[in-house]
């Protein structure tokens, strides 16, 4: 395989990894304001993704940086063409990124509500805009011979791009809700489980429309790609598993569905990276945007060393925080007024043990996780 093809595949994997991993924390971010009945529920929901979201977001950063290094001309055209959409995406990343850290820092309802909503809005906008961007790559944009975008902001909102955005948002919701069923207990858990089933059945027609559009609508013929069929089947499976409370399977299937839905864009794109609607001769392709082979070779060595290690330690972080979260029982020594740090620490270790019990409960459940 040519090195530049390898890097196209690697970059596709990075986008898939990003949208599966952050997908569930986007989903939790969107859902937490509605599913939580009270502040404790909200804390449980946010803390279920607390240790992970930042590490997940690095997948996006690396996916973009890899385009820069491996396909500079693609990076240059894509980000300058998507200028205002990229700005909106950055704004969403900013307001969401700070909300985790800042929400709990001031004990004032208005302050908290502000950052609660920046989390919700950011968690919605990011998968939506990333969907629009990825959809546009495949649908095509007016790109001239120099590789510059000649349309306006509204030209970025192609129908297919918008539908891709909607699809990624719905799949994020599905991932987030099934993830929460694995991380919660009690009332909250029951509510989340019901909601995840509903979202699952909404996701089925959305993804059906998406795979038809990807394939037929963009003129690749009627025989479905295996990956399209795979994405659709996975989402149906996720909906079914969520309805029958097979929570681990539901999450796994939702992840596969997201992977398939994102993966199909890159499968369909190949060997293009950004289609020009002005003239097919102006299409950006793997070949005409790639860096010389020396750069790609260096990057290959770096990735070969780094990626396995990254998977290992990110996997370990999920292992460390595998337990279900539970709210402290009423009347248990959560926190003692005026006692400051030490009481907090003591209560934390108490909560730690009850979480262990939760972990045991998790092991007893059906499903692969």
């Amino acid at each position: 395989m040519h090195l530049r093809t390898l890097w196209f595949v690697l970059d596709a994997i990075l986008w898939v990894g990003f949208l599966i991993l952050e997908g569930f924390d986007f989903g939790v971010g969107m859902l937490h304001a509605w599913l939580a009945k009270d502040d404790t529920d909200r804390r449980v929901a946010i803390n279920s993704i607390g240790p992970f979201w930042d590490g997940n977001e690095v997948w996006l950063i690396v996916a973009a940086a890899v385009i820069f290094a491996a396909f500079p001309a693609w990076y240059a055209t894509m980000f300058s063409a998507l200028y205002l959409a990229a700005l909106l995406l950055l704004a969403a990343l900013i307001i969401r990124g700070v909300s985790f850290e800042y929400q709990r820092k001031v004990d004032d309802e208005r302050w908290r509500a502000t950052f609660r909503w920046t989390l919700v809005v950011g968690s919605f906008l990011i998968p939506f805009l990333v969907g629009v961007a990825l959809g546009d790559l495949l649908h095509g944009l007016p790109i001239n011979q120099q590789g510059d975008y000649t349309g306006s902001f509204w030209g970025l909102l192609t129908p297919f791009g918008l539908w891709t955005g909607v699809t990624l948002v719905v799949l994020s919701l599905l991932l987030g809700s099934t993830y929460l069923t694995l991380k919660t207990t009690g009332d909250l858990h029951d509510r989340v489980a019901r909601v995840s089933a509903t979202i699952g059945w909404i996701a089925v027609p959305v993804v059906l429309g998406y795979v038809i559009w990807v394939h037929v609508g963009l003129g690749s013929g009627f025989v479905p790609n295996p990956i399209d069929a795979f994405a659709l089947l996975a989402v149906i499976g996720a909906a079914w598993a969520a309805s029958s409370r097979q929570e681990g399977w539901a999450f796994l299937a939702a992840a596969l569905g997201m992977g398939g839905a994102v993966g199909t864009i890159f499968v369909q794109l190949y060997p293009n990276v950004l289609v020009s609607t002005t003239n097919a001769a102006y299409n950006l392709t793997i070949a005409n945007t790639a860096s010389p082979s020396y750069t790609l070779g260096v990057m290959t060595v770096v990735a070969a060393v780094a990626l396995p290690v990254i998977l290992l330690y990110q996997g370990w972080s999920y292992h460390v925080f595998r337990a279900r979260l539970r709210a402290p029982r009423q009347g248990s020594p959560v926190r003692t007024p005026g006692a400051g740090t030490e009481a907090g620490a003591g209560a934390e270790s108490g909560a730690g043990t009850s979480a262990e019990a939760g972990a045991d409960g998790l092991a007893g459940r059906k499903g692969p996780l």
Binding site: Y75, P292, V298, L307, Q314, R335, G346, G352
Partner: protein
């Protein structure tokens, strides 16, 4: 017009980003030191200090990370010609930064934040050291990329007159990188230690937890004094290196319009010397100092702006090759003079430690609290000096800034983005400052009241349960929340 706006946007967003970066790098290292002290001495005060300053670190990391994202996207958004032209060289270090450093930093920071009671002490300590190391590693890749813009190396000219990477090691062996990166790491440690010193001094002035905050004051001074001295030394060596590869930058920093053959004086201040004034009135000229700063030799020759302009016109064709002399001259002095003052502050602190009067010396504590503002000014001036001094080049000798912007991005687009960034950054900056002050002034939590509850006995203390801290902790849940541990580590975590 649109290139100017794009420059304004890049300058403001990157200067803003670099307000937070050095705090993150410096504080991560210092928090790791505190946690190491806890691990080795098993003294709970160090654990509380590590968490206290850890909270300040996290408040900063939050903004540092999201503003870094902006930087990564902006190359493509605003500088598409640049990105297309040099991506195969410049993009490499950025991708390596993500793969080798930023993944580590983010993942292990998450584990560290939530892992206080899930991991063994040793493993938890390892996590913060990984974070501290990763922040420095991350800076290395970014600085390697930046140094290539100052002094491009390790490439050949390919077809279409485009630079192509042919030696990746050269990027990390670039003298501008070696000195510049060391300079940035030292400046970051200076910044982190000044933040810690300011907070400690504030508490010492109010006699709050004197025992504990005296320790952090001492630690921060122990870090500050050698790092500020080294930073000045390394900075002046960086000046020599840049004098070699970017002589115009140095000439402009001294407003030296005409070549000076040897024993060139350095002016402490000057009047005039701007664009149309080639004979500034030097105040307090220090004989020979400029020769030493620019060449390491008393009789070193320093090229003048006019001569360099003539030489570049011959080499690169007609055009202006002179950066803003005003920015160069004053940013260099603001940086250097503030550094000298901070060095004096470090000496003053060391003297107070020696006399055992650190927590009683009112004036020192007052000055130390406010000195933290100076360090941000110093860092910003340093970046202005090096980036503005590179103009009109975006990559020295290869591509001019004026030719590097995105053709498809309109002036209106940039006005919109600039306004959005300004609005977000000002709001977040206010929130950050508010939180830093609030959490910097927070009570440390007292061990006097509590005995020594490091282990399982922690729950015995305090006047009894507070049912449903979560649900009922709405508005007005009481001032005790303020004295709490980091709110992101509530009782129900894992």
């Amino acid at each position: 017009m649109s290139t100017d706006l794009a420059r304004w946007q890049f300058a403001t967003t990157s200067i803003y980003h670099f307000l937070f970066v050095p705090v993150t790098i410096g504080l991560a290292f210092l928090v790791a030191l505190l946690e190491t002290a806890w691990y080795r001495k098993n003294d709970d005060a160090y654990r509380r200090l590590a968490r206290f300053f850890g909270t300040l670190l996290l408040i900063n990391v939050a903004i540092g990370v999201v503003t870094g994202l902006v930087q990564e996207f902006e190359f493509g958004m605003n500088w598409s010609v640049y990105s297309r032209y040099v991506g195969n060289v410049f993009g490499g270090p950025l991708a390596m930064e993500g793969l080798l450093a930023f993944f580590l930093e983010s993942t292990f920071l998450g584990i560290w934040i939530f892992g206080w009671n899930r991991l063994s002490k040793r493993l938890h300590l390892a996590c913060i050291w990984v974070v501290a190391g990763a922040t420095m590693l991350s800076a290395a890749f970014i600085m390697a990329a930046n140094s290539w813009m100052q002094h491009p190396v390790g490439y050949t000219m390919g077809p279409n007159h485009q630079p192509q990477l042919n030696d990746v090691w050269a990027l990390f062996n670039n003298p501008v990188f070696l000195w510049g990166y060391t300079h940035v790491v030292l400046a970051s440690l200076v910044t982190g230690s000044l933040v810690m010193l300011a907070v400690s001094a504030w508490h010492l002035r109010r006699k709050s937890h004197v025992e504990a905050f005296r320790r952090t004051a001492v630690i921060s001074l122990v870090v500050l004094l050698p790092t500020i001295i080294l930073a000045m030394f390394v900075g002046s060596e960086l000046g020599v290196v840049e004098g070699k590869y970017q002589p115009m930058k140095i000439a402009a920093a001294e407003a030296l319009w005409t070549t000076c053959d040897s024993h060139c004086p350095f002016s402490a201040f000057q009047i005039g010397g701007g664009k149309n004034d080639h004979t500034p009135t030097q105040i307090l000229p220090i004989p020979g100092l400029l020769s030493i700063l620019a060449t390491n030799h008393l009789d070193g020759k320093v090229e003048g702006i006019n001569q360099l302009q003539a030489q570049y016109t011959k080499e690169y064709g007609p055009g202006t090759y002179i950066p803003s002399v005003f920015i160069q001259y004053w940013s260099m002095r603001v940086m250097a003079y503030l550094a000298a003052l901070l060095g004096l502050l470090g000496l003053w602190g060391a003297w107070a430690i020696r006399r055992h009067s650190l927590d009683r010396s009112k004036w020192f504590l007052r000055v130390a609290t406010w000195a933290v503002a100076a360090v941000f000014l110093m860092n910003t001036a340093g970046w202005l000096l090096t980036e503005s001094g590179r103009q009109p080049w975006i990559v020295q000798g290869l591509l001019k800034t004026a030719n590097a912007a995105s053709p498809s991005v309109t002036t209106t687009d940039i006005w919109i983005s600039l306004s959005v960034f300004l609005f977000l950054y000002l709001t977040l900056g206010a929130a950050d400052l508010f939180l830093m002050i609030r959490y910097g002034r927070r009570d440390l939590g007292s061990e006097e009241e509590q005995g020594k509850p490091t282990s399982a006995g922690g729950r015995q203390d305090g006047p009894g349960p507070r049912p449903g801290a979560g649900p009922d902790a709405g508005p007005g849940a009481g001032p005790d929340e303020e004295a709490d541990e980091d709110e992101r580590l509530p009782a129900l975590v894992y």
